[in-house]
Amino acid sequence: MTITSLPAAEVLNRYFLELRSKLLDIAAILDRLDRGGPLPADARLGQIRQALQELASSTPGRAERIQLIFSRPYDPNWERPRLSRNQ
């Protein structure tokens, strides 16, 4: 037994209005930002710009990559506490 996704044409039919609505929401928020005048430097704006570029990408895995854009980086050498056996 396997699980399969809907054919792309069917996805487009079923989710077109939802996609259109969400794109308009994004556009409206960006317009709202513009109407508010100039913004001071803010790292979140860079994240938004990067995420918008990912949306326009044709490579699958956009959701995962956008999640990583909004994530703090992981340091594999983070300082681990030691378990105290006296507790």
């Binding site: 396997t2 699980i3 809907l6 959701a63 995962e64 999640q67 994530s71 992981y74 681990r80 378990l83």
Partner: protein
């Protein structure tokens, strides 16, 4: 369709929610110990909270034919206070033989601090010493990826911990693979704005299959939906997925994970098998990519 909600904070919900859960086919809820929305003044606040989870909520659930299970711990947010956390950890063993307790949880990280990591390790140690299942909260938003990686590092550092006894909760697109590849169970939380929608959860089932994946509502005192799991079921049906595939995620997987608890009520599950004709565990479903 019958289902279990493996993560819902019923202490924050009204009794009407139990009724609506039952009307939607929910057979049981599992309630991890969590933050109350404010920091408790002393360990005695937790003592009363644990009594609430093991005594009062099972009775409230039973009014509507639901089973109530729970998990005990000090949550990551209050774990920043290490001395308080140690007092609370010392209280937990006296509750571990209560019949509705499934294990230690939801332990984890919040802001990925050293104190949180210290208390996390001590609660993993508690679970190992008492041979308990572990339910893990992963942090929110920008802290989730780093925190999930740190949690996995700490779990791997304790050779007593068997991955199949651990559920990594609140996974999203950037953390689900980490949990599954480590051999852990994982759960997607259907929670407005800050976690995962039913649609994205269905996407991840299509990408990763059904093995060791659960979905939950994490309904609590914030904006949340206790009926989120039925919405996931509806989304899966909308896409034409079979009853067997959906049932695997919303019923058979939580049963398979919880069944590993020493206190799991097998008589209750056997009564379900008779009533619902739940088939013996079917092979997990692989995604076609």
């Amino acid at each position: 369709m019958y289902y279990l909600d493996p993560h819902i904070h019923m202490i924050s919900r009204v009794t009407d929610d139990y009724e609506r859960l039952a009307q939607c086919g929910c057979l049981a809820v599992s309630e991890p110990a969590f933050w109350a929305g404010f920091d408790r003044a002393s360990a005695y606040g937790f003592l009363d909270y644990f009594r609430h989870l093991v005594e009062f909520e099972p009775k409230r659930a039973a009014q509507f034919g639901l089973r109530h299970f729970c998990w005990l711990c000090i949550n990551a947010k209050e774990a920043e206070n290490v001395s308080l956390a140690r007092e609370v950890i010392a209280l937990i063993p006296q509750f571990l033989e209560r019949p509705n307790v499934l294990g230690i949880g939801e332990i984890g990280l919040n802001k990925n601090t050293r104190n949180e990591a210290t208390v996390f390790l001590e609660q993993v140690d508690l679970a190992a010493r008492y041979d308990e299942l572990i339910l893990i909260h992963t942090p929110h938003l920008e802290d989730k990826y780093m925190g999930t990686r740190m949690i996995l590092d700490m779990l791997r550092s304790d050779s007593r911990i068997r991955p199949e006894h651990v559920l990594i909760d609140h996974v999203e697109e950037h953390t689900i693979r980490l949990a599954l590849e480590g051999g852990y169970w994982c759960a997607m939380t259907l929670y407005p704005t800050t976690k995962c929608t039913p649609q994205r959860a269905a996407d991840m089932i299509e990408m990763y299959g059904t093995e060791r994946i659960l979905v939950n509502s994490a309904g609590d005192w914030g904006p949340s939906d206790p009926l989120a799991v039925p919405k996931f079921i509806q989304e899966m049906k909308r896409r034409g997925h079979s009853e067997a595939v959906i049932r695997r995620v919303v019923l058979e997987n939580p049963l398979a994970f919880f069944r590993q608890s020493r206190r799991w009520p097998r008589d209750w599950e056997e009564s379900l098998n008779g009533q619902l004709a739940i088939p013996a565990a079917e092979p997990a479903v692989a995604a076609v990519r």
